[in-house]
Subunit: 649 residues, 2 copies
């Protein structure tokens, strides 16, 4: 991809920008504030910049006078670089050059970790869970009329040195016809045992040589979204993937409401059928996209939280939501996928990720597996942030985990204008430190509609660092701006005026919103504080952080540290694994070496019920400040706040 250098003046900050990205994006990433109200749609006309060198495409509209255009003015949100650029942000937009001394922190997102199949191979960690073998059998005759299955088994023993073979009934049913379709040339699929000494199962048989085609499916059954990947077991490559909303959403948004629905007559059956229906849609799509024969799929690996898993397996989840929160099981036997209703061959076994407890499910175990944290010396903090946030701390020697009742703030829930990370959600934000005018960038660069979780963190962190809100989550009543106002005894900050939005209402952030966010991040911080203190460690001992879940990919790490969601550390030490659950499922689908570890890892994960852990309440209450009661835990932020106070004096 073509990238261009953009130098912002008078800030004198240079940043690289990908072709196709707008100057407003470059400014935001560079930490250069430009007033923008309309999310980047080009309608507010506030984001005027001067192109001093280089060439851009677009950026000219009726919002600019012809004379200004000739001087080099462009609308930053509509300008896309065609060469390296020198861009001046005019004084009218920043009001006072002194602001340049107060650099905002550039956006800093987690590195994305991906599976390196070649590395797995090189490390000897690639142990295919299913393999195909091509057989050229001799044809039976009067002196050699052993059973068809015996002929297959004998060949495997003699030519491939297989032993301890077990044959599925579905294969026995196929054998007679398959062998005679291509003159006793045939390909069998062998499912390897996870444990050493176990039996290898013959799970499929096909006419002719199909040994070059062997596929698997990995699936993350999320409460909201189901993700499915189709994998080539010979190369480890993801051939296709897709996602779809979990059809169960119609029966309740979160796990608790799903469980309540499952308690109704036929509720459990309905939810089971609905989730499988979504899964089947996904399976159909990824098979079509990859252009493969469904019969070549040998296995499916599924990961989901404990409730999603119990619903998928039609196990009554009612005790998950009732104290003392007991799940039915945390380990599941291999199950015929077709018996669960999956549109997959009779030979396909479904492997279900084991869970730890009612609220630390298979998705988290898969994330721990996918991230590899259980293999390393380093003390790692793993966080999957969402409505039900889960945290795991530990390393190759021990693992402690807990679920946090963080509430839905990180997904936009409980926030006046909160919304999911969809088009129109403010996802990036900056503020003019003198005028308190905002720079709102929305997903899709359209007029704002609300605030998504990562946007909320950025907004609150920015407002806090700029002194617009204090460490109690209250707006500074002394600032001279119409954007801070009191409506019916509630203070709020106006992010966008109604004529700049797509909803014809002022989009605001209120003090109750701030309170909700602080409680959510306090629950997280209190959670891992508690896990660490329970094992005699503290936050300083954490070597690295792994973020998982949709939220993790967009969150600005420095901002998350400013509000005290994450402990303060070098952003380089923070990794994002994306959908950790899917990643774990993919790895388990690819190699038995990983599957072999899973049960062991699950047993090693000590679950803490935070509500039953004495120290948790203290840790939680101490975290109900920005960033925390004890600012010394955030030394860099403390230094910046002190510098700001000096510069303002």
């Amino acid at each position: 991809m073509q990238t261009y250098k953009v130098l912002f003046l008078p800030h004198n900050i240079e940043i690289a920008l990908n072709e196709g990205e707008s100057l407003i994006r470059a400014a935001m990433d560079a930490g250069v504030h430009i007033n923008v109200s309309c999310g980047g749609e080009g309608v507010c006309g506030k984001c005027r910049v001067i192109i001093e060198q280089g060439e851009v495409e677009g950026g000219i509209s009726e919002k600019l006078k012809q004379a200004d255009v000739e001087k080099g003015y462009r609308q930053a949100c509509q300008s896309f670089p065609k060469s390296d650029l020198v861009v001046r942000v005019p004084i009218e937009s920043t009001l006072d050059a002194s602001v340049l001394k107060r650099k905002s922190v550039p956006r800093n997102m987690a590195d994305i970790k991906q599976i390196d199949f070649e590395e797995l191979r090189e490390k000897g960690l690639f142990v295919p869970p299913v393999e195909k073998r091509y057989l050229e059998l001799s044809e039976p005759h009067a002196k050699d009329n052993i059973p068809d299955v015996t002929r297959v088994v004998n060949y495997l023993k003699q030519n491939y040195h297989e032993s301890k073979l077990e044959v599925d009934l579905s294969v026995i049913r196929k054998v007679p016809d398959v062998l005679r379709k291509d003159s006793f040339k045939t390909t069998v699929t062998l499912a390897r045992p996870v444990r050493e000494g176990g039996k290898t199962r013959i799970v499929n048989i096909q006419p002719g040589d199909t040994s070059g085609r062997n596929y698997a499916i990995a699936m993350d059954i999320g409460t909201t979204t189901i993700y499915g990947s189709l994998l080539d077991l010979l190369t480890g490559k993801v051939l296709s993937w897709t996602a779809d909303f979990n059809g169960q959403i119609s029966y309740g948004e979160d796990v608790i409401s799903r469980i309540m629905y499952a308690e109704k007559p036929d509720g459990l059956e309905t939810l089971q059928q609905v989730v499988v229906k979504t899964a089947n849609t996904i399976i159909k799509t990824i098979i079509q996209r990859a252009g493969i024969d469904p019969d070549e799929i040998s296995t499916i690996t599924l990961a989901g939280n404990t409730t999603m898993t119990q619903l998928l397996l039609k196990i009554n989840p009612m005790y998950i939501r009732r104290s003392p929160y007991v799940p039915a099981s945390t380990l599941y036997p291999p199950i015929k996928a077709a018996n669960l209703g999956f549109d997959l061959g009779d030979h396909v076994t479904a492997l279900i990720y084991p869970a730890v407890s009612s609220y630390v499910g298979g998705d988290i175990v898969a994330g721990v597996k996918g991230s590899g944290m259980y293999l390393n010396e380093e003390l790692t903090l793993f966080m999957d942030i969402g409505t039900n946030a889960e945290i795991v701390v530990g390393n190759k020697d021990w693992l402690a985990c807990a679920a946090c009742s963080a509430g839905p703030a990180f997904e936009g829930g409980g926030i006046t204008f909160g919304m999911r990370a969809a088009k129109g959600a403010i996802e990036d934000f900056s503020i003019d430190p003198l005028t308190y005018e905002p720079m709102n960038i929305t997903i899709g660069n359209i007029r704002p509609q609300g605030i998504c979780g990562s946007g909320l963190i950025t907004i609150v962190a920015t407002l806090f660092e700029q002194g617009v809100i204090n460490n109690n989550g209250k707006f500074n009543r002394d600032l001279n701006t119409p954007r801070i106002r009191e409506v019916e005894d509630v203070y709020e900050y106006v992010l966008a005026w109604k004529d700049e939005t797509s909803i014809d209402r002022d989009i605001v952030l209120t003090e109750p919103d701030l309170n909700n966010l602080i409680r959510a991040k306090g629950a997280m911080y209190g959670g891992y504080m508690t896990l660490l203190s329970e094992v005699g460690l503290s936050i300083e001992n954490i070597d690295r952080i792994i973020l998982a879940g949709g939220f993790g990919s967009f969150v600005d790490l420095e901002k998350a540290m400013i509000i005290g969601l994450l402990p303060e550390m070098d952003p380089e030490k923070v990794t994002y694994v994306g959908n950790g659950s899917l990643m774990g499922a993919i790895m388990s689908a690819l190699t038995n070496r990983v599957r072999k570890d899973v049960v062991q890892v699950t047993r090693r994960m000590t679950n803490f019920e935070l509500s039953e852990t004495a120290s948790y309440m203290d840790n939680y209450v101490a975290a109900l400040f920005l960033p925390h009661t004890d600012l010394n835990r955030f030394p860099k932020l403390k230094q910046r706040l002190e510098q700001r106070q000096v510069s303002e004096q």
Copy 2:
């Protein structure tokens, strides 16, 4: 049961008779000929005897004059002893006292072997395949909220020293509700692994203490009849049993016609559903008769011939009937009974008896298991006689087996008046050596309707020994009796005149009938001759014979030796195991020790395809005489035949 002594004069033969059995039965068993044409219904009036001492009930009818009744005359077939008796057979019925010198051989049937559960127990061979364990679990609370399944597993480990436990999905589904039904008091059913080192599966869980109730089903899936037994796994007792015609009969009488039906569209599915329907009827009946809760049934063991097994499992059987006669498989994995359509709980595993070849099926393996012949030093000949007769020879060191195309003669097929062993079938027979008048006894003692398999053997053996037919199976053309006649170039013997039958036709035995029987018994004799010679042994080496199958229970052993179906040996050495297949299934259902041996036994059974074994044709042709080309193989018979010739000269 009350028995009485009956002394027949002038023969001077005494025999014990059970109360309720007629004098004609006593005479037949004693080898005393009395003319009877009507099968024992009392209508021919020929069987007059004089009660010289003792008291009988019945025997008086309009066939007897009052004067004769006063002299002590009674109809033997209608007379039942009430005390010890002395009975004279009047000269008018035997015509000539010289016949007394020619004793016919008394009826001699095989001893019936039955399972001795206590012996199994004492020998340590009782290893229950499924066991129940009662658990009193502690209830979960905030500090102890481990998953329900983990609570169960931990208790089993701590209190019952169980290890390597695996939990079925069906159990996981039940656990949450079951535990909470009776305050965490529960009973689990454990299915033991057949192999050492295997896993114990938790297959069922029930509220409260049900450990005193644990049942199994054993079933023989016969081509004609399905037998089912309900077993108490705690005592080894058969609580109830029943049998029913295999519903597949409507789709063909024998395995070949069933296979042909299975080749039609949906034929296989239909036959599978039909056989399971019959099985379900049987299951329902035996559950009701035993008065147990179906949920307490833990396992079902099934044995059947290879075709019946493949049809039950919905495996295409078409190659079984086509050269080179290849079955799909001979070993089958454990299968959920419910998945096959059985009306049994989700927790019930079906164990299918393994087979050896297309025509030596699981029923024979079960018979070998049930008879215990694979455990003994003695060289044993095992024969399951029916349309598809199977033979096994061997001992604890080796086993050779083969299927014989004996044809249906032993089941009454291919015989002019052949019929199944049902009411009205002539099952016992004697002949007056001077007048050649018959003594026919039918099943149910009603007018004759035809001849069943065991009756046919007795008739032919008797006619042969009395010189009515020669060793070529031809009637002696020189005898002066209207009962031997030529009709349309075919010689025949009239067993019953039309007015003495229930079918208003003469019931006859023809030379083609004799030919069919000789070929059938020749196939059997040639079969075991061949197996023995292939391993370097001969018939003299056989220590004992085990007969299985419905046929075996009624056949007169001495008669079977006279026609050369069985080798000549002490009848004491012949055992009858009844339904060997059902017996093997019962034993496997009762104890894992037997199941453990099954696969090993199957592997040890060397199958011979007689049609491909060079020596078979010679052995077969040599056996196409009565009793055999080489009379020296039957020394006792030879001696009797020689004595007869002397006495006739």
